[in-house]
Symmetry: C2
Subunit: 241 residues, 2 copies
Amino acid sequence: MSESPQDPTPQGGRVERPVAFEDPAYLAAVVDLLGVISYGEMSAFERLAEDAKMAPNLADKAELARMASTEFGHFDRLRERLAELGADPFEAMSPFQKPFDAFHARTAPSDWLEGLVKAYVGDGLAADFYREIAAFLDTGTRDLIIESLADAGQSRFVVDRVRGAIADDHRVGGRLALWGRRLMGEALSQAQRVAAERDALSALLSGGVDRPGMDLAAIGRLFTRLTENHSQRMEALGLAA
Amino acid sequence: MSESPQDPTPQGGRVERPVAFEDPAYLAAVVDLLGVISYGEMSAFERLAEDAKMAPNLADKAELARMASTEFGHFDRLRERLAELGADPFEAMSPFQKPFDAFHARTAPSDWLEGLVKAYVGDGLAADFYREIAAFLDTGTRDLIIESLADAGQSRFVVDRVRGAIADDHRVGGRLALWGRRLMGEALSQAQRVAAERDALSALLSGGVDRPGMDLAAIGRLFTRLTENHSQRMEALGLAA
């Protein structure tokens, strides 16, 4: 007997692939999820590199460049994982290019502080959301996602800079509070668009025949949690949510 | 006897510091050199992240983002080393901001291929030049510099893309050959400006009382080597130098 008929990776078995992936719907959903997260990381890289130009000095510029490089490192691991799962990584990302680009076009920061708030609030919201979905996944995928969402150092740096700017001029706080609300609104509207278009992805949240998921009430509670965390982040920045 | 009078690092001695650093002129020159290289790396990060926007597809964009992140990694190690030497890293970089920014302003690529040629030709020239200077330094500094100049993967990628574009349309070759010559001219003119303004740095090349250096004839030969290597890179791209 040269091969077990139960071998889940008949093409050579280089990759350890949990039994969950035998369900093609699950595999499609994970590819979609890794696709959206990796495009988000690439998008974060681009945005941070762009915002670095507005830095008031070389040291602050280097901080943003560091965050951008960290996001690229996450992107790279997610891309590798997509390839291991037999997916074309860039094809997996392409459905998410439009909504992300639309989000960034609608929320182009007009100065250094708006860029910092966007990095902090936007990445925080995305991380919360993906972490909630990751709870329903196999451990390998879950660990990779959670590791990719680790704070790239932005929190302390951004909180410090934004609080400092408000201390210098309290009017800054009012403007940035409005900005934070607008970011949340635009993010939710793009997320809704993605959920409506990507059935496999939303099925991850609502569950399947033998996969746990969320009913409508649970999804409502999820949105409450996301909103509460957003408010806490705004508060950490010294801003009214 | 609590302390050796010969201790070269009386403030705690966390860093192993070769005897060469007891000469303040040498220390100043090394700080200058690490300053110019690290600002160059930061500048390369910014330029590659900017050029990534012109990528024809997501996979090529990711390649440029990877190079940018690699350059940031080099920047970070050089910055650390400057701090270990007791210098303010950003102060050490600041004299070089103007010439680098001027170089980039005068050589802003107008499309994806010009960006690739600039990354390849510009980084190659800089690496050749710093490697020549590094030959006169203590081994610790030399190794760090040589490691920082390691090819961030651009060579194969750029050669492949530029040769492909010329194969598709041979007129591209004529345009990019002119571009390569312009890059070389602008780089030399900015390098000359730096050499004229930074005495410590040019003293590294010409040597000191008990430090080897280059006489005028040797500096002439250095420029010949730099020009020859530039021609070889242009040839690798399929371009007339």
